[in-house]
Amino acid sequence: MDTAHTQEFKKHIRTYILVFVALLALTIITVTISTLHLSVPAAITVALIIATIKSSLVASYFMHLISEKKLIFLALLITVVFFVALMWLPIFAHSDPIIYKNVP
């Protein structure tokens, strides 16, 4: 590997360390927020937003998704669609059930 390339790559390593620091900071933030005793919907929203940010950081930089090939995104896109279908499952199971309607 030539030196120009090496220099370029060392920039990547600085990014990794920044991401690492950000992840630790976000962990502390999410724990701190949880001690504030927000209302349940607010707490869930905040915690999941932070978790999503953290996981996108991991996926984008540690798993270098940010510079990944199209095909991987295609596979992930399909998965996301079916994952959403799966996440709808509790709604299917709970909302609009016939059995509860006729119970006094």
Binding site: I78, T79, F82, L89, F92, A93, S95, D96, P97, I99
Partner: protein
């Protein structure tokens, strides 16, 4: 081997199997082999044995259904007092047979034969690849399947007997029947974890192989339809199986660790409240199960469709009609199959809005199925058809799958599903899809690729006896089920419906179906004899016996080279079904040959 990379590779790769000059010990060559052809044959033989075993379980059940409470002569005594005292079948044993027949046929028989055997053997050859992308993983997936099969079989011999809550294993019944480690259901779950892992490894391997190892010139739109079918199937396996694995883990926790994932509060079992904490949801299992099991239906059917498409194109000596629409239909089918699962659950108290959603998606998914079937039917038009054994099976597949598909429509509509749910109508419907449908497709595949694997062709006369016998018997077994189902006979009755007034007028059909099933077993003997006889004594044929165009015939010898597939990696110049191209010398143009200008 001039580049730097290749010399590296040669020194270090432990895949000795790829080097033709090295002779492997017997166990590496035939047992723990990493060669996709050997693994394909291993899958094939194992799954055929399981298919026959699963069929035998059903033949036993058919005795009880035809002659309830009567002792089974001669054989009955063999099963022991805890199963068949004095040759009379106990209800528990009947339930075990029912649950295991379904499980073995689907997970140990048809899927491994369709995907494991045909996929493994044919796909790398059809795409001009030297092997699967991950040969060791391929071996691991076969042995995971094998272990899962052994666990399932062993469960018959544990104290509690095998699983007996149906192949769908609905809780709470499956949670509370013989709980703990010595209940067959626990073994069923452990077996399933192995089978699911095997499928996951296999499907990942197929997708990578098809995407990465296609030979030069073989674009996606030049892939044989069989490869497309396997490709979509692999995605279904990859993404639909994990939710069932999760559900299996949860049920395992319920049965072994005493949790209540699927047990509601205050559940009464045998007149007593269950001591578990409750708070679980039995419907959760059904959702997770059908999230897999509906795509699984297409896992069962798509490879067979692929085989049938290959054989029809070959024996009509015409290109398939509408190759592109076939491809897009199969992709759309795979996609839609993930969002129809709750049509199995109309009777669980889902609301009307959700039922409406799922019946709409179900009606939509019938469109690509009809496109595929129509395209295959139209492909027959104007062909000079060769009626050999594989073609007969492929032709019979079309109307049989058609009946199976059309009888599914009333089940997909919530209103008509209510009276038909859990009756023999359902059994008739899906057996029409899977037995004279998929299994005929698989038989077609065996007759078609047998010369590829052995260099000999199977006997036509025995093959035709096998075909006509099976064809008639299949219909005699499954059509009466539709009639019984419309009369309202439930699918899970131990005595076939003796107790019910509404069943009386159709009870005589039980005997008809049972006798047809046993006669069909006799016709399968023709296949078994043919298989072994042809292996040794069959007529030797040329490498391209069917004068086909796809790479597995065009570019390899029959049987293919022991290690590595091609003496020279082929290059593809055109689409997969160039039959009867005007201006050519032959009536077929192999994919790797240039057309004469």
């Amino acid at each position: 081997m001039s580049t730097n990379h290749s010399s590296h590779t040669l020194e270090a790769v432990p895949h000795v199997d790829l080097h033709p000059h090295e002779e492997l010990p017997f166990w590496r060559k035939y047992i723990f082999s990493t060669d996709h052809k050997v693994i394909g044959i291993q899958y094939g033989i194992t799954s055929l044995i399981f298919l026959f075993f699963g069929f035998s379980l059903m033949m036993l059940m058919r005795w009880q259904l035809a002659y309830p409470g009567e002792a089974l002569p001669i054989l009955g005594k063999l099963f022991g007092d805890e199963r068949m005292p004095d040759g009379i079948m106990l209800p528990e044993f009947y339930n075990q047979l029912g649950a295991m027949h379904g499980t073995i046929m689907v997970f140990l028989g048809v899927v491994p034969l369709a995907v494991g055997a045909f996929g493994n053997y044919v796909v790398p050859l059809q795409i001009g690849a030297p092997d699967m992308a991950f040969p060791k993983l391929n071996m691991a997936s076969y042995w995971a399947y094998f272990t899962g099969g052994i666990v399932m079989l062993a469960s018959f011999f544990i104290p509690g007997g095998s699983a007996q809550s149906g192949w769908t294993s609905y809780p709470p019944l499956s949670d509370v029947t013989v709980p703990g480690l010595w209940g067959g259901q626990t073994w069923w779950l452990i077996g399933m974890v192995f089978l699911i892992s095997s499928s996951l490894l296999g499907s990942m391997n197929f997708i990578v192989t098809i995407i990465q190892l296609r030979t030069k010139g073989l674009t996606f739109m030049r892939l044989p339809f069989f490869v497309w079918a396997q490709f979509v199937t692999s995605f279904l396996l990859l993404l639909a199986f994990p939710p069932l694995e999760a559900a299996g883990v949860l049920q395992l926790m319920d049965r072994v660790a005493g949790t209540s994932f699927f047990l509601p509060s205050g559940l009464m079992v045998s007149g007593q409240i269950l001591p578990n904490t409750g708070g679980g949801n039995p419907l959760l299992w059904q959702h997770l199960f059908w999230f897999l099991a509906h795509p699984e239906v297409y896992v069962l059917i798509l490879p067979a469709l692929g085989i049938v498409a290959e054989i029809i194109a070959n024996n009509t000596r015409k290109p398939l009609w509408g190759y592109k629409s076939l491809v897009f239909a199969v992709i759309f089918l795979g996609f839609m199959s993930f969002i129809v699962w709750a049509h199995h659950m109309f009777l669980t108290g889902m609301g009307t809005a959700i039922s409406a959603f799922f019946q709409t998606t179900t009606m939509i998914i019938s469109i690509p199925s009809v496109i595929i079937l129509s395209a295959l039917f139209i492909s027959l038009h104007g062909g000079s058809i060769r009626f050999n054994t594989p073609m007969l099976f492929a032709l019979a597949f079309l109307p049989m799958f058609g009946i199976g598909g059309l009888t599914g429509l009333p089940l997909g509509l919530a209103a008509s599903d209510i009276p038909l749910h859990d009756t023999y109508y359902v059994i008739g419907h899906f057996h029409y899809v899977v037995a004279p449908g998929t299994i005929f497709g698989l038989f077609a595949g065996i007759y078609y690729w047998f010369p590829k694997i052995t260099g000999r062709r199977m006997n036509e006369k025995l093959g035709k006896i096998h075909f006509w016998g099976s064809f008639v018997c299949m219909n005699l077994i499954f059509f009466p089920m539709l009639i019984q189902g419309l009369a309202g006979v439930s699918r899970r009755l131990y005595d076939g419906g003796q107790q019910y007034a509404h069943a009386q007028s159709v009870l005589y059909l039980n005997e008809v179906m049972s006798i047809a099933a046993w006669v069909m077993a006799i016709f399968q003997l023709f296949f078994i004899v043919n298989f072994f006889w042809s292996r040794r004594k069959g007529e030797k044929v040329s490498a391209n016996v069917w004068e086909a165009t796809t790479l597995e015939w065009a570019a390899t010898t029959s049987p293919p080279l022991a290690h590595g597939n091609f003496s020279k990696i082929p290059e593809v110049h055109h689409g997969p079904y160039e039959y009867s191209v005007p201006g050519q010398v032959k009536d077929y143009l192999p994919q790797n040959e240039l057309a004469k200008a």
